[in-house]
Amino acid sequence: MKIYSTLILGFFFSMNAYSFTLQGNSSNLKGWARGEVTFYVNTSNCPGSVDVVGLVKESLEVWNNTPTSSLKVKYGGSTTSTSSSSPPIVYCETNFNAITGADENSVPGAASVNTTGGQINSGFLVLNASGGQSNIANLSRKNLLIVMTHEIGHVLGLGHSQTANAVMYYTYSFKTELNLAQDDIDGISYLYPSDEFSDNEFAGCGHVQSVPPPTPGQMLLLILCLIMPLAVYFKTKKRFYLTHL
């Protein structure tokens, strides 16, 4: 069993030009086993001025808004945990440097996941509540949202992107708006692909009961298969009619 637990620190410099990358220790990562990931939040050490729960909820919605991904993320409630968990947790750390090894004056957040056999089995997101300059209380709400969305992306299994437009890009210092880039959508769709012909969803309506089978996707195919011969039938019928005029 291989365990990967390197902390991915918030927003540092990168070198080569590649697109989205993956968390973990191999190219074979598949994300969390279930495409429905619930986040719990421990606010005990968070600055009173920061609405961490509100930020988490809003950032999760950004990741929910990905058309080709089946991923569903949601806020589950509060927790007292401060360690890597399943489901994942978000907490604020006063000893940010001791826990993450990161510079408290430049890193507002970090995230980590553990993997087994290419699947994430636990994770956490830690926010800087230290005495350093990058304590989350010193960031604007807009920047906090971008940081939170970026770190949640790590917990979901994405590494850094080197596409400058991406939320998973190494820095938020140029960002004035929070929008996923196509590269972020590609990354999350790679980890949690949506297949409406097998995942019991219909035109984005969410999960539907496939009782009795077939699934709605298969139903649509059946209908289309019926329509095509009908079209050919009408066409040939028309020709027949014309030749007998």
């Binding site: 220790n25 850094h160 035109a203 649509l220 079209a231």
Partner: protein
């Protein structure tokens, strides 16, 4: 629905003046496919979005069946033989869209309009390998995707095409997750296609100004 979207749909439905659909017509052409349009994705390092999305160039194939009355059924297949590449060519993304379009010609016009369901497939093929990125003060290895992953979505399509010099100029809107306020997305396809074969302008209201060749997407 977004006001820009309403205006686009209105433009698609505006009547023009002969007939674009022709029974038995094959069309082959090139498309400009803009994925996730209308402020869906960040287009700048600032995170700012705009109308356009990610671009790829599919080849389009279409065939017109005269169905009933003056209606046509036209299966349309789009495929990006040249896949869209993510930055650094780490992942190649191939789009295939099969749509079953129902439509008719605007009477006495070179325009047609159509709607219909489709299946939108996206194959993402990772090249694998790894790259070193700084994480804190020391470089960390980040792995690039290596698997081949396929997404398949039902699409709802609405579009219009215009007959011009024996070719078709088309504008299609492709909706994914049409009934989800959260995951709904729309893409746009501008297309140019050469048409061959085909007979009458189609149906009872087919144009008298029929052209023996030419049709379009």
């Amino acid at each position: 629905m977004n006001q820009k979207l309403n205006i686009l749909i209105l433009c698609l439905l505006l009547p023009g003046m002969s007939s674009a659909f022709k029974a038995g017509t094959y069309s082959v052409g090139l498309g400009y496919y803009s994925q996730n349009i209308m402020n869906k994705t960040a287009q700048k390092i600032t995170g700012k979005s705009n109308f356009w999305g990610e671009t790829s160039y599919p080849l389009n194939f279409k065939y017109d069946f005269a169905a009933f009355s003056d209606w046509f059924i036209s299966p349309q297949l789009s495929h990006t033989f040249q896949p869209r590449e993510s930055a650094g060519d780490a992942t190649r993304i191939t789009m295939t869209h099969l749509a079953f379009l129902f439509g008719k010609n605007f009477q006495g016009s070179d325009f047609d309009w159509y709607v219909g369901p489709g299946i939108l497939q996206q194959e993402m093929k990772g090249k694998g390998g790894s790259t070193q990125l700084l994480n804190g003060s020391t470089p960390t290895t980040f792995y690039l995707p290596s698997r081949t992953v396929t997404t398949r979505k039902l699409s709802v399509n609405i579009g219009s095409s215009y007959l011009l010099w024996g070719s078709r100029l088309g504008l299609d809107l492709i909706f994914e997750n049409a009934f989800s306020s959260e995951k709904r997305a729309q893409s746009l396809m501008l297309s140019y296609a050469y048409s061959f074969g085909g007979g009458a302008g189609g149906g009872r209201s087919g144009s008298g100004r029929s052209r023996s060749k030419g049709g379009m997407f």
